[in-house]
């Protein structure tokens, strides 16, 4: 890997950590608080593409694992991987990769703005919501033995917030592509 890619991934990891330091917000129509950190995971894929985005997320998890409280709510240490929601953390890696993978193939600089925005949104939705919840719900079902459908039910409340984040990630992806394009382009 060239040094620049390593540095880009490390800087994005720092961005994801800073997003986790921001207070979570409550929106009227969603019953659970929304944190900006998982927005950072989608943004990593949207801005840097599959490989560098995934490395950025791996770095955040690694730094959390070795004992720094860098996950939202001041969580850190190996204990964060002993929670019933650990599947979502593992899912972050796949989420960033899939989001980035789809962005690299769906979006290119010559497209009209609307096409770019919609493509970014689809990528963030599939990677950052569908794939992420597949990991999170499967893990939750396994450790609690409650079964997939009940685990899905328990996760339902968080989905609207994450769909909203996919919208923000798509808009941000377009704006960053216009201002400082980094996304690898593939046909």
């Amino acid at each position: 890997m060239v040094t620049r890619d390593l540095v880009l991934a490390a800087l994005f990891a720092a961005i994801i950590i800073v997003l986790g330091l921001l207070p979570s917000i409550m929106l009227g129509f969603i019953p659970v608080p929304i944190t900006a950190q998982s927005l950072g995971v989608m943004l990593a894929g949207v801005v840097l593409g599959a490989k560098r985005g995934m490395i950025a997320v791996l770095l955040v998890l690694l730094i959390a694992a070795i004992g720094m409280p860098v996950l939202s709510g001041g969580r850190g240490g190996l204990a964060v991987f002993a929670a019933p929601t650990t599947g979502y953390l593992i899912g972050w890696v796949a989420a960033a990769f899939v989001t980035g993978f789809l962005c690299e193939r769906l979006v290119n600089r010559e497209q009209a703005g609307l096409v770019q925005g919609v493509s970014f949104f689809i990528a963030a939705l599939i990677g950052g919501v569908v794939v992420l919840y597949a990991f999170g719900i499967t893990y939750l079902a396994l450790v609690t033995g409650m079964g997939l459908s009940k685990a899905f039910l328990g996760s339902l409340a968080f989905i609207p917030g994450d769909v909203l984040k996919a919208v923000v990630a798509a808009l941000a992806g377009r704006a960053v592509m216009a201002g400082y394009p980094l996304l690898p382009q593939r046909a």
Binding site: L8, A83, T85, V168
Partner: protein
């Protein structure tokens, strides 16, 4: 940034990080294989005993464990609601034990020791030509180095919103923060290469 490491000289501090991580892996397998409640109860008591050896105050421990403990309790309650009380108790004991063991290892292993261990684990990948093991320590250092800079940038962008009478929104905050931060990548990368820190041929 602060870390969750606690200075000390307990048995756990003196064990090698590699052994501790192996024991943790072994314990987590054991916790998920065992399904008898009394046995899980004994394991939970042992984990708590191990954690107590660190000598952390209750208040300190609560601070450290609260977010994860809360998630575990919420999920256990949800399990109680949709499943049997036995299953709920199993989830509670299993995950709480694992959390205590993991937290004890985090508190007794320094960042540097962890990075050495991970670098060692990555050596086979290096031999396969997939990555450079020493890049792990370098990039972890880079992230920790630049978190405060990114935070400062975030604050100044937010203040710029206020100064112009704008309401800060996720999009208008995130985009300039990303662009400004990633722009410095070229120069940081050039500095790493100019100092020959990755030792390329």
């Amino acid at each position: 940034m602060r870390t969750l490491y606690v200075q000390g000289d307990s048995l756990l501090h003196r064990l090698s990080p590699r052994l501790k991580l192996l024991l943790l892996a072994g314990a987590s397998v054991a916790l998920f294989v065992v399904s008898s409640l009394p046995l899980l109860g004994i394991m939970a008591v042992c984990s708590a005993g191990l954690y107590a050896m660190l000598g952390l105050s209750l208040r300190d421990s609560w601070q450290r464990l609260r977010p994860i403990l809360l998630t575990i309790v919420i999920v256990a309650l949800f399990t109680l609601l949709v499943d049997t009380p036995v299953q709920a108790a199993t989830v509670l004991l299993r995950l709480t034990s694992l959390m205590l063991l993991a937290a004890a290892i985090t508190a007794t292993t320094g960042i540097g020791a962890f990075i050495d261990e991970i670098t060692w684990l990555a050596l086979p990948l290096e031999r396969l030509g997939l990555m450079k093991a020493s890049d792990i320590g370098l990039s972890v250092g880079l992230v920790i180095r630049f978190v405060p800079e990114v935070l400062l940038r975030y604050i100044s962008i937010r203040d710029a919103h206020y100064a112009r009478g704008l309401k800060p929104r996720p999009l208008t905050l995130a985009v300039p923060m990303i662009i400004l931060t990633l722009r410095s990548a070229d120069e940081i990368a050039a500095a790493i290469d100019a100092r020959g820190l990755r030792g390329q041929k």
